[in-house]
């Protein structure tokens, strides 16, 4: 038995095919979902992938959040369906209030694409169980609006509840992918909701699943094996 994992294509989604490939490589069944369709086709989990949904006009993720597919998705996420938001997907999840905070433009005002070093802070979410807490991994990062912000109370709450899932590793060699790449508060790269079924992060695990392409590492694969194990054993 395997699990069906949906990947939503919005107009302007870019990494939908990559994400479906990563799901397949992990051994699960990828299912294409369409933004105008409320039907989630009985998937067990959903990934909102990277891109520039609706051109990211108005604000990244702000329009996608109102698309028909999101109505069903928000409802089901609240009742426990695992959802992973990558980059633009993370932005959509914050716009949809499934995750707190939001993303602003990178502090250096440029698009940045690099193989980023992250520390896994929480290895108990639906999407991170195959990592170990404290593990350092390299995951490609590529965005224009990646600076995570929230008010101090929210940040304190996230920390206290262990909901900071990933942090940018700072203090080392920039050539090795160290450093906070965009000015995110408290070096936050990704967070989860209270239940741990909804996770969002700016870096792209789907670009680190094969040794030959992308970053040439496979540090991103555990995202997809984590969820598969959880769904299959559930």
């Amino acid at each position: 038995m395997t699990a069906r994992i949906g990947v939503v294509t919005f107009p302007g989604s870019l990494d939908d095919r990559d994400t479906r490939r990563a799901i397949k490589l992990a051994g699960a069944e990828p299912v294409a979902l369409w933004h105008k369709d409320k039907d989630l086709r009985q998937v067990d989990a959903v990934v909102l992938c990277g891109g520039f949904s609706y051109g990211d006009y108005l604000r990244a993720g702000a329009i996608a959040r109102f698309s028909p597919v999101m109505e069903t998705l928000i409802e089901q996420a609240k009742s426990g369906m695992p959802v992973l938001g990558i980059c633009n997907g993370f932005q959509i999840l914050t716009e949809a209030h499934l995750l707190p905070g939001g993303m602003l433009g990178n502090d250096h005002l440029h698009f940045i694409c690099r193989d980023q070093k992250l520390r896994v802070e929480n290895a108990s979410t639906a999407w991170t169980a195959d990592y170990e807490a404290g593990q350092e991994i390299h995951i490609p990062l590529k965005n224009m609006d990646g600076r995570y912000v929230a008010d101090e109370r929210t940040l304190d709450m996230l920390e206290a509840e262990g909901r900071v899932a990933f942090r940018y590793v700072t203090g080392g060699d920039a050539a090795e992918g160290h450093g906070n790449p965009n000015g995110s508060l408290r070096d936050i790269a990704g967070i989860s909701n209270e239940a741990g079924n909804v996770v969002g992060l700016m870096p792209h695990p789907e670009h680190a699943v094969e040794p030959l392409v992308g970053s040439g590492r496979t540090d991103g694969l555990p995202f997809f094996t984590s969820i598969l194990k959880k769904l299959v054993t559930a």
Partner: protein
């Protein structure tokens, strides 16, 4: 152009004496007279608009055509060529049923006027060319040239261009895998923004730009037509910048990458359902170009109702609609029974699509507006029978003096300390420094098939996940070499791109070029152009790599000062299994470093002569195409059979530049020994062509050197991968940390 009364064909015939603004639209007097002769009457305003844009230098290649013919005449026999020059882009067979289309184009002038939009729409245009062939775009590359790195205007132009390329390409989901960034004062005021793209399709999916089948519908789809870019082709791209004229900003188009992304997806879906008979993108000269080219390449005529074109600005005149270069538009010819399905797919992607006309069984292109016929022409006369100029050309008087100013006679470093210092100056100079500040603004990961991206020698994309089949692309063009000798300079550009493809393990297959020159009205520039084309055509013939298409950009000059002749050459290669690719980085200590090829005292046009002496003179490195071919064969075999773990082509900056780059990328140092018969300076800085450096695992040493020996390629052991410094024995040691700081700090310090 007055709109009352409507200037119909009938009205034009009745009013032969009306003065038309042909000069303002960029036509010469004799060109206008030819239009009158062709039509047998004065043109209507709309016809004049069409002829003026289509006969512009940018669209008609009127100055370059007589020379470009050589690419066809001298084309080598190639089984790989599926579609050659003349279509939106050439198509090459890469095996396993796959075809690859690729092309490089310029967007130089708009990028100077408005760097962000100019560069962005350059990417948009080349990507639409690729889609129009039936292919899914899979990667882009961007060869760029800017003025001096420390000139204040470079800080205006470069960040805008880079942000524009990134802003557009990143939004389309196309990995940016290669290109170049070169600084030289000659490009001040005339930056070169060339954009290349690659697309992949199955053989049976190739589409062409032709309208055939009377009764078939002509569908315009994509963005609404607005007032942007009007006259862009004729006025912007075909005239020299002149301080006295008013600002040309309004002629630059504005891009919307989101719209283009939708256009890609809906076009590919329509292709997949076999709904499209012919297709053309709307680029330079907009609807004028698309309608006249579709009609003239097809079997019949075409009738278009301009009132049906969806407009962004309802006040546009018919002339403006015909000339508008609004981005993100395409034109498809669809059988009547398939129109509904085509429109449905467009609607699914929220793309506006409108039937604006149909293919007729006549041979005229007729365009109507408010019920009146405002265009009635033979489309061939618009699209293909533009003027052809045999521009006078002459070797400039200063060429001899330039070549006599021998760079080999420049003072060389006298001590190891000076040598060390000059190495540091070289690797930190703007042209040789790391460009990661620029390339990290481009998404190189998207689509999940990027095997190699800059700063590798070529960009490489996997096109089949099962078999590992892949393609590689490299673009090169050294304007300094071409200035010293345009014939050999163009050949060196080809040789370098060819070598770069082979260095990564791919077999070079075909060529696209972007020929950037000054004003064709200057006989010296025209001579440079003629020589470069002749050189490139000869070299393509010898290397067996046909030119599949390309682009000419003239008038890259301000006043009397033309840019260096800059033929940018893109070579496309194929690799059977991308797992066999060879990267640049030194990865394992103890591996042996070999120099392949001959090193001579060749410093003309070199990076060293520029960085240390601010000098340009002498002759460029000698060209030996048979050697290039042999070197390529060795590199491809070595990659395929796992005999080398790293390889790097030697070009500007010579051996030391290559070794430093490989060392920094891999984080592993190198100990070098100056080979017998060479002095340290020549060993490190010479730019002799036909060379590469490779890192060979010890277990493969004998097999590798035997192969080189058996096939007659000079191979010299020059050292070993080792430690955390680049050391030249008996000369100097440069720690990687010091090299990295020098190599990586320059560009951010100048531009960030």
């Amino acid at each position: 152009m007055s709109r009352t009364p409507l200037d119909t064909v009938e009205h034009a015939a009745e009013t032969p004496d009306v003065d038309l603004p042909w000069a303002e639209l960029g036509l010469k007097k004799d060109e206008y007279e030819r239009v009158v002769e062709i039509l047998g009457r004065r043109p209507t305003g709309a016809e004049l608009a069409m002829y003026s844009v289509m006969w512009s230098e940018h669209c008609s290649y009127k100055s370059s055509k007589v020379h470009l013919r050589q690419f066809g005449e001298k084309a080598p026999q190639s089984d790989a060529l599926l579609v050659g020059i003349g279509e939106n882009a050439g198509v090459v067979d890469v095996g396993q049923g796959y075809a690859v289309t690729f092309k490089v184009e310029s967007h130089n002038h708009p990028s100077y006027v408005e760097p962000y939009q100019g560069a962005a729409t350059g990417v948009g245009g080349i990507v639409r060319d690729i889609i129009a062939m039936g292919a899914r775009p899979v990667a882009v590359v961007d060869p760029l040239r800017f003025g001096a790195a420390d000139h204040p205007d470079t800080k205006r132009v470069l960040p805008g261009v880079v942000a524009g390329i990134g802003g557009y390409g990143n939004c389309l989901g196309l990995p940016n895998i290669g290109g170049e960034v070169v600084f030289d004062a000659c490009y001040q005021g005339n930056p070169l923004v060339n954009a290349g793209a690659i697309g992949v399709m199955r053989h049976e999916d190739i589409h062409l730009a032709k309208a055939s089948g009377a009764g078939n519908k002509v569908i315009l789809y994509g963005a609404r037509t607005g007032g942007d870019g009007i006259g862009g082709a004729s006025i912007l791209a075909s005239e020299t910048f002149d301080d006295a004229k008013p600002s040309k900003r309004p002629a630059v188009q504005v891009g919307d990458p989101f719209q283009e992304k939708l256009l890609i997806e809906c076009t590919l879906e329509a292709f997949a359902e076999k709904l499209v008979v012919g297709i053309q993108d709307l680029g330079a000269a907009g609807l004028s170009c698309a309608t006249s080219e579709l009609a003239s390449n097809g079997s019949g005529g075409m009738r278009v109702t301009l009132d049906d074109v969806p407009l962004r600005d309802s006040t546009l005149s018919p002339e403006e609609i015909l000339m508008s270069e609004s981005q993100e538009r395409m034109c498809a010819v669809v059988e009547p029974s398939k129109v509904d399905r085509f429109l449905e797919i467009c609607d699914k992607w929220d793309v506006i699509a409108t039937v604006i006309g149909e293919v007729t069984d006549g041979d005229r292109l007729e365009i109507y507006w408010h019920g009146g016929k405002i265009v009635d022409v033979d489309p061939r006369t618009v699209a293909h029978d533009g003027p052809v100029y045999e521009r006078p050309y002459a070797r400039p008087e200063w060429q001899d003096a330039l070549q006599a100013d021998d760079a080999n006679k420049l003072p060389r470093p006298a001590t190891p300390e000076e040598l060390r210092d000059q190495v540091l100056r070289l690797v930190s100079s703007p042209n040789q420094a790391s460009k990661s500040w620029i390339t990290s603004q481009y998404d190189r990961f998207v689509q999940g098939n990027t095997v190699l991206a800059q700063p590798e020698d070529s960009g490489m994309i996997r096109i089949d996940e099962e078999s590992g089949l892949g393609v590689a692309i490299a673009t090169d063009g050294n304007g300094r070499y071409a200035k010293l000798d345009p014939y050999h300079g163009a050949q060196l550009a080809l040789a370098e791109a060819y070598r770069n493809v082979a260095t990564t393990g791919a077999r070079p297959l075909a060529v696209s070029d972007c020929l950037n020159f000054g004003s064709p009205e200057d006989p010296a520039v025209m001579w440079q152009f003629a020589e470069a084309v002749r050189g490139l055509a000869d070299a393509c013939q010898q290397l067996g790599t046909p030119v599949t298409g390309g682009n000419v950009s003239l008038y890259n000059q301000t006043g009397e000062a033309a840019i260096h002749p800059t033929p940018v050459v893109a070579v496309l290669g194929v690799i059977d299994d991308v797992a066999r690719r060879t990267p640049v980085a030194f990865r394992e200590e103890g591996q042996l470093l070999y120099l392949l090829g001959d090193t001579r005292e060749e410093f003309g046009g070199s990076a060293w002569s520029q960085v240390v002496h601010d000098h340009l003179g002498g002759l460029p490195p000698a060209v030996d195409l048979e050697r290039e071919r042999l070197l390529a064969e060795i590199l491809i075999s070595a990659s395929r059979d796992g005999m080398v773990d790293a390889a790097h082509d030697l070009s500007d900056g010579g051996l030391v530049q290559a070794v430093v780059e490989s060392a920094l990328l891999g984080g592993k140092g190198a100990r070098l020994v100056v080979p017998d018969g060479l002095d340290a300076f020549t060993f490190l800085f010479s730019e002799s062509a036909g060379r590469a450096v490779v890192a060979v695992p010890r277990s493969e040493e004998l097999r590798f050197t035997d192969m080189c020996g058996a096939r007659g390629l000079p191979v010299t052991r020059i050292g070993v991968v080792d430690g955390d410094a680049v050391e030249v024995q008996g000369e100097f040691t440069l720690p990687l940390t010091e090299l990295r700081a020098a190599h990586e700090a320059t560009i951010p310090a100048l531009l960030a």
